[in-house]
C-alpha cells in the first residue's frame, strides 16, 4: 500500500493543472454538445481519507435520487471521473439532447444520452492529459447509476484509492441557459496524482 502523501504545494499544482484541463477541453466540449455557454470557475483538490468521504458529497438534494456517470481511465496513469447531477437536471439534459420530454421518467434512450455526455466529457479530459503529458491511457465504458449521492461516490473511491488516502478534485459546470449543473469529480490514488505534478 502506498504511503505517499502530497504536500500543500503538490495539491495546489495539481489543482491548477486539473482546473486548466477542465477549462481548456471539458468546458468547450460541453458547450458544443449543448449549444450554450458554460460557466466554470475552478476546482478544489484535497487529499482525503475514507473517513472524510461525506465531505465530498455534492449538495444536490438529500431527499431525492441523483444520477452519476462514472468513467475510468487506465494505462500509464489511472483515475476515475464521476459526473453527478440532480435527477431533475439529468432529465433536462436528456430532453435537451434528444428533443423529447423526459420530465416524467428518464427513458432508456435518455439514460444513454446522459451516459454519453459523461463519456465525451471524460474523453475530452483524457485527450488533454495525453496531449500535455504524453501518457497513454484507455478509457473504460461509462457506467450510469441512479442512487443517493453518498452511494454514487463509493465506487470511484473504492476503485481508485489503493492507499489509505485518495485525491479528490471537484468542479462545477454551470449551463447558463438551461441552468443544468454538472458536478465533476476526479478520483486518484496519490501515486498517480503525483504524475500530474
Amino acid at each position: 500500500m502506498s504511503e505517499t502523501v502530497l504536500s500543500k504545494l503538490d495539491l495546489q499544482k495539481l489543482d491548477d493543472t486539473i482546473s486548466g484541463y477542465i477549462s481548456k477541453k471539458m468546458v468547450p466540449s460541453l458547450s458544443a454538445l449543448l449549444n450554450e455557454e458554460i460557466k466554470f470557475s475552478s476546482t478544489k483538490t484535497s487529499e482525503l481519507s475514507f473517513e472524510n468521504m461525506s465531505d465530498i458529497i455534492p449538495h444536490t438534494n438529500t431527499d431525492s435520487k441523483d444520477v452519476g456517470v462514472y468513467v475510468t481511465c487506465n494505462g500509464e496513469i489511472k483515475f476515475g471521473i464521476l459526473f453527478h447531477l440532480k435527477l431533475s437536471d439529468a432529465k433536462k439534459l436528456a430532453s435537451k439532447l434528444m428533443g423529447t420530454d423526459e420530465s416524467e421518467n428518464l427513458s432508456v434512450d435518455g439514460k444513454s444520452a446522459v451516459a454519453e455526455i459523461g463519456n465525451i466529457l471524460a474523453a475530452s479530459f483524457f485527450n488533454i492529459v495525453n496531449e500535455e503529458t504524453g501518457m497513454q491511457m484507455m478509457s473504460g465504458v461509462p457506467g450510469l447509476a441512479i442512487d443517493d449521492a453518498a452511494t454514487l461516490i463509493e465506487t470511484p473511491i473504492m476503485e481508485t484509492a489503493l492507499s489509505n488516502t485518495f485525491i479528490h478534485s471537484f468542479g462545477e459546470l454551470h449551463c447558463v441557459d438551461s441552468k443544468i449543473i454538472i458536478y465533476a469529480s476526479i478520483f486518484q490514488d496519490p501515486d498517480d496524482a503525483l504524475k500530474f505534478v
Binding site: L33, S112, A115, E116, A123, M138
Partner: protein
C-alpha cells in the same frame, strides 16, 4: 454502392449516439438504409448479413470493442469501408485502427459538416 441505394451500418453501444449519427446521415442524404448494432459482436454479425457500403464503428464498446470488430470485419471482407468513431483522440488508437484497415475516423462531439465530408469521401473511394 449497392444497386438499391447506400446501406450504412451504425455501430455504437449508446443508442443516443446511434440516433445522432443516423440524423447526420439522413440530413446529408448519405444513406437509403441504416442498420444498427450495439456492440462489436453484433457489428460483425450485421456486416455478414447485410454487407453495408459503409460502417461507422465506435471504438469503446462492451463485449467486443471497435478495434476487435474492425479486425473481424476485415477478415470477412478486406475491402469493407469502416470509419472509426472515437471521443478519445489518441494517436496510438487511431493508428492501430488505420493499420487494421479503417479508412478514416471521426471525433465526438460531432461536427456535422466534417462528419458528412469524411463519410462522403469514404463512400466515393473504392
Amino acid at each position: 454502392m449497392s444497386e438499391n441505394g447506400t446501406k450504412i451500418l451504425v455501430v455504437d453501444d449508446a443508442s443516443f449516439m446511434r440516433t445522432v449519427l443516423k440524423d447526420i446521415l439522413k440530413s446529408n442524404g448519405l444513406a437509403t438504409e441504416i442498420i444498427e448494432a450495439a456492440d462489436g459482436v453484433e457489428a460483425v454479425r450485421q456486416f455478414i448479413t447485410h454487407r453495408p457500403d459503409l460502417i461507422t464503428m465506435d471504438v469503446n464498446m462492451p463485449k467486443a470493442d471497435g478495434l476487435q470488430a474492425l479486425k473481424g470485419i476485415m477478415k470477412v471482407d478486406h475491402t469493407a469501408r469502416v470509419i472509426m468513431v472515437t471521443s478519445v483522440e489518441q494517436k496510438h488508437i487511431i493508428q492501430d485502427a488505420m493499420k487494421s484497415g479503417a479508412r478514416d475516423y471521426i471525433i465526438k462531439p460531432f461536427d456535422k459538416g466534417s462528419v458528412g465530408l469524411v463519410l462522403n469521401k469514404a463512400l466515393r473511394a473504392k
